[in-house]
Symmetry: C2
Subunit: 487 residues, 2 copies
Amino acid sequence: MSEHSFTIDSSSPINPHSQRLAHIRQQILSLFLNDSEFVETILGTADEHARLSDTELHTKTKTVKELLTDLHAADLADMLEALPYDERLALWHLIDNHQRGEVLVEASVSVWDSLIKDMSDKELLRAVASLHVDEQAYIAEHLPRDTMRRLLTYLEPSLRNRIRTVLQYPGDSIGQMMDFEFVTVRSNVSLKTVQRFLRYRSNIPEATDKIFVIDSSNILQGELPLTTILTQSPDKLVSEVMKTEPVTFLPDEKGEDAAGAFERYDLISAAVVDNNGRLLGRLTVEDIVDNLNEESEENIRRMGGLSPEEDVFAPVGQAVRNRWAWLAINLCTAFVASRVIGVFEDTISQLVALATLMPIVAGIGGNTGNQTITMIVRALALHQIQKGSFSFLLLRELGVAFINGVVWGGIMGVVTYLLYGDMAMGAVMTLAMVLNLLMAAMMGVLIPLTMIKLGRDPALGASVMITAITDTGGFFIFLGLATLFLV
Amino acid sequence: MSEHSFTIDSSSPINPHSQRLAHIRQQILSLFLNDSEFVETILGTADEHARLSDTELHTKTKTVKELLTDLHAADLADMLEALPYDERLALWHLIDNHQRGEVLVEASVSVWDSLIKDMSDKELLRAVASLHVDEQAYIAEHLPRDTMRRLLTYLEPSLRNRIRTVLQYPGDSIGQMMDFEFVTVRSNVSLKTVQRFLRYRSNIPEATDKIFVIDSSNILQGELPLTTILTQSPDKLVSEVMKTEPVTFLPDEKGEDAAGAFERYDLISAAVVDNNGRLLGRLTVEDIVDNLNEESEENIRRMGGLSPEEDVFAPVGQAVRNRWAWLAINLCTAFVASRVIGVFEDTISQLVALATLMPIVAGIGGNTGNQTITMIVRALALHQIQKGSFSFLLLRELGVAFINGVVWGGIMGVVTYLLYGDMAMGAVMTLAMVLNLLMAAMMGVLIPLTMIKLGRDPALGASVMITAITDTGGFFIFLGLATLFLV
């Protein structure tokens, strides 16, 4: 392990570029983490005797600013996310305002609050002024509603209208991901003219692998890849070499659908058009990569019952608020399971071994149920489940559960017999495990499919729900069987 | 819900392209899912009286093949993954052999077995013959070892050596992701010459946004974006306009690090060089998107204790094998937790209410522990945790746990008092919940950090481990306190 950071494997990066970056990053982070006087002086919260002198402050600030010059906005965002609140805010103070907009775009929304809380509207406006419209819209959308409204009034009308247009589409839609940085040409010009036009323009937007061919009413006619311009004869007309029927998207479509199409067709950029085929904007693979990262993040958090917005350095109060809902739900389900046991207190008091054994039945059911539900939820998200294959899946899961129940339930039955010398108790143990595994498998298939039929997200709280059912069901089955056959 | 598929939201795709695709997909899938005679005739497993006549078979086959012509390899792969084994194999039989290689590349490795099991080496070889080297290497790497060896002997020596080179790098390294499809030029030529060369070449590889500038010993000098060729004066030399010091990668670096850099610097393609700066290959954003999708898939499965390779339509036997390890581990931990209860059987027999209440203490600990560990594992993966911030995180989690313990434990203490009329039992309940939540939070932070210090993947089985500890610990704390204060 290196001195200042935990890294997942022991091999340090050998790429000189990433090595240098890691080094700068380390220097800056350790400066802020180990020098509370510096941090407090910047924030103006230092005690009189712990405050740095102006010269010291100036020297240290200069060191940091020199280190910062080489860093990309994304690197700055990463560093901010890796610092606790005070240290983060101190570093933020040292970042030039004209770069702050980009850093905000790159940083996770969960850390925004901690950054912009003491920026004035003017500062915020200046910070976002240099951004692209889609980035400005992205920031506007995630700001507190009143801050956003104030900011919009400061903008010039044409820009304000564009941002309003973008904001009218739902949050995870293509309309909010698209940008307006693209090049268009007409189909009746030659490639030579296109080249002259491009040279005159001199600046082609990033991630441009093609330019869009439109007619006089802005309707998309086709696409002209840059490689076509470079490889085809300059005398040919755009209409002769352009790709007609390109893959396009509508602004109402979901971002994740676009991600699928980009992966499938190996796209770098694609046009966004309205229902009449009019060119509205452009989607690039960069937007898709950002979207994929966000999605994967959210999926992981959602299944475990974590709020998607929690900042790893959120203070205690905020963390409590973020998590209390799932904890309350969990407490309720645990309470219900406990009441099921309560019903059988008579049985337990006659045979206290049951109290010892019952968590095994419940636990193994939870494990099986979670395996099944994880698989089904993923398969649903990937559209792998058709109605015709539903019964196969249910039967397969029941089959797996039955075999596991007989094998592991059988083993636990023998262990129970060896521990307590009671053959009937061993048999009840085996039977209870088989039944609870069957129930876990069945519910693991039925819960996500039912959620979808109800129009709900099947991943949300799936794990909490299945565990609640297998616990309650496990206790009921085991203690119920014991009551019937053992006492 | 539509007739044949479950979709996550009720709005059908409005994009005409995806609509047509979804329709074709639906037609093919339902044909295979609802016509077992067709499937069995193709596979040669039909009973004599259930076999289709040659004419019927011919007509249906023709229908399917016509539907298939419009589909991309990725679409075919998706459909194969969405079909149970027999139906999948039947569809596979109808896919042209020259397209099968691409379909294999696009399909998840978990379904390969079911597809290639009755292909001959010759067929397999023909299927992969038209693929790029990186794709062939990818396929070779995931084939059973003996099939791979036989296949390699069939290839021509130069290709065999290239594939061997790629295979020598570890599985998730950049060396295995890179391709060899790139264009190179020398720095001392003019842009006009470059354009003439490109026009002569006529074919520029996909995802080319730049060409690489190398010297006579193949050392990378810089990069020349296509947009530069298009916007700069044709008389300029490559050396005048090329981008020096580009972001490059080494073949030993991990794929996920490349993903980070691609996202950070908005790359479309990048050079892979050896330690001396010699150009080895190229990495494209397409490889990165594939890699991101695989990663996110694996993360989700890994935390839940599912094998990363499970095919949703795996038959019972295979599914049992895939899952038995986690089930066995779970059974062991449940058994240990159960033995802890066993130690307190005397206490429980005197106060049977304890058996009823103990799952609440254990359950709430598991929930808190899972929230903490999920957050820490994700933050570690994103390199957000530095040594200097470690104590902050531990204290924060303990603080959150303490507040939640006092609030929810207090509520459960009151409920316990109301249920059993025993004030001391309520107090024990509250105290046990506070202590178990504190332990859950502490272990949720310490387990992943310890795993990393031991050089292990912190995500692997994190959820199983924390649940085992909070169960065992929860039972011990609650029953221990009860033994001390209640009986």
